[in-house]
């Protein structure tokens, strides 16, 4: 029996790439917007690109906010990707202030427009950037980053960045123009990746591989 990964389909694009990457790692993908399937999922992925408000609205219209919260409390593996990760936090400041799922305490804020040196830099942060251990991160070897080495590059594209309230919820950071931005967040069974593992070559595939094995 192949492991099953349930991917939430809430009207936001790019599900094909996520599905394909997970299938590549030997799992079967179920795309769904069904409350029941989410409740019964073995492993749940919340993907997403685009604006925060639209994403939350997509979930709300399908009445998926409560089912996702309940799933998250069940202790089963959960992975939010990009916008899906940002929605795991309490609040976002993108185009106004919008409530998130509130799975991990924290806010989503705009990436500062200047780097550590005070000089302006390009926004969005687009491209391949290396993962580094966040200051209070737990050991990667017991997480979905098991096969990732410090410095391995993954693909980012974002203008907003999640800022968890508790430093120990940051598992990996990336450094953009001298600024440490949260790249992977973790709270128990809940994971979020700001970058796109489905677009990050072998490093990204290794993260899905570990997620598929997680239980």
């Amino acid at each position: 029996m192949k492991p099953i990964v349930t991917v939430i389909d809430y009207g936001i694009g790019n599900l094909f790439s996520v599905s394909r990457a997970i299938e590549h790692c030997g799992a079967e993908v179920h795309l769904t917007d069904s409350i029941e399937e989410i409740a019964n999922a073995e492993r749940l992925v919340l993907p997403g690109v685009g604006a925060f408000e639209d994403g939350m609205q997509g979930l709300a219209e399908r009445k998926l906010i409560e089912p996702i919260r309940e799933y998250a409390e069940s202790g089963r593996p959960f992975l939010g990707i990009c916008l899906g990760m940002q929605m795991m936090l309490d609040v976002s400041e993108e185009f106004g202030v919008h409530k998130g799922l509130g799975l991990i305490p924290g806010r989503v804020q705009a990436i500062p427009t200047t780097g550590a040196d005070g000089q302006p830099h390009k926004i969005p942060h687009i491209g391949w950037n290396g993962l580094v251990e966040a200051p209070q991160a737990e050991e990667w070897n017991r997480t979905i980053l098991r096969d990732v080495k410090v410095g391995d590059a993954v693909y980012f594209v974002h203008s907003f960045t999640p800022v968890p309230e508790q430093a120990e919820h940051r598992l990996a950071d990336c450094v953009y123009d001298g600024l440490a931005l949260a790249a992977v967040i973790k709270a128990g069974n809940l994971y979020g990746c700001q970058f796109h593992p489905e677009k990050s070559g072998d490093v990204g595939l290794s993260i899905f591989q570990q997620f598929v094995k997680a239980s």
């Binding site: 790019n14 604006a51 687009i126 693909y155």
Partner: protein
């Protein structure tokens, strides 16, 4: 700065990867899947697919090719050519594209930029510019692979595009495209310095030094390479090694 992105650009007509000279004379190079897979395995940072006849027919015909590519290639894929509406964008994203590059339809109806970026995120909205040098030292934006003038000044247009929500600029020099004589460095620099969003320089790469120049002097954030890769005049590993030696930051593989 983030790592310089090394991008392979595949211009596609029907089922074929083609190469163009000044975006006019076309020659079939081969099957796009073969090339995209090869580039992925060689560590390319991103891919761009351009349906170069799409605007003639009014639609993008790359959905099937995109779907096939996304099965085996796990790096970002930008698709352009004939994208006219948010529905077109949705179809390409659903097929596995990550971003769309829009030129003609954005010129005709600039609000499309805002619609796409609001609905799918600005990271998805790549404003594609075909720039031609004018005697005045400025550049004019063209459409339809350099055939149609628009009267738009490139610098004014990219600034407006950024305000409207574009997340990235794909900047193709019509003058340099297919010449192998190097990028239009002055153009790239003028555009890159006029906006805060990343700029992909495209058109004219013949040797490694061209890349270094358009990044160091032209301030490009990414470089799109076409026939220099298709004909194996340079390969990605060598480009990476040389980039590092020249002090350019590239992805560590």
């Amino acid at each position: 700065m983030p790592n310089l992105r090394l991008i392979a650009r595949l211009d596609i007509k029907g089922p074929n990867l083609i190469k163009g000279i000044h975006l006019e004379g076309l020659r079939v190079v081969g099957d796009p899947q073969t090339f995209s897979k090869r580039y992925y395995e060689a560590g390319v940072d991103e891919l761009i697919y351009m349906d170069i006849v799409a605007s003639l027919y009014g639609r993008n015909n790359l959905t099937e090719i995109v779907r096939h590519t996304a099965r085996n290639v796990f790096v970002p894929l930008t698709v352009g050519g004939g994208v006219r509406s948010t529905d077109d964008v949705k179809e390409l994203l659903r097929a596995g594209a990550d971003k769309v590059a829009i030129n003609t339809a954005a010129i005709q109806r600039p609000e499309l930029i805002t619609e796409v970026s609001r609905r799918f995120g600005s990271q998805c909205m790549v404003l594609s510019i075909e720039a031609k040098r004018l005697a005045s030292g400025k550049w004019e934006a063209y459409t339809d692979n350099g055939r149609e003038r628009t009267g738009f000044d490139v610098i004014e247009w990219v600034q407006r595009g950024q305000e409207l929500g574009a997340g990235e600029i794909l900047l193709t020099s019509i003058d340099q495209e297919g010449t192998r004589k190097g990028f239009d460095v002055a153009l790239t620099r003028a555009v890159s310095d006029a906006v805060t969003i990343p700029v992909i320089a495209s058109g004219g790469m013949g040797r490694f030094e061209d890349l270094a120049e358009v990044v160091q002097t032209g301030h490009a954030d990414a470089v799109a390479m076409a026939d220099v890769l298709h004909y194996d005049r340079l390969n990605l590993q060598d480009i990476r090694t040389q980039a590092r030696a020249a002090g350019l930051m590239v992805r560590q593989l």
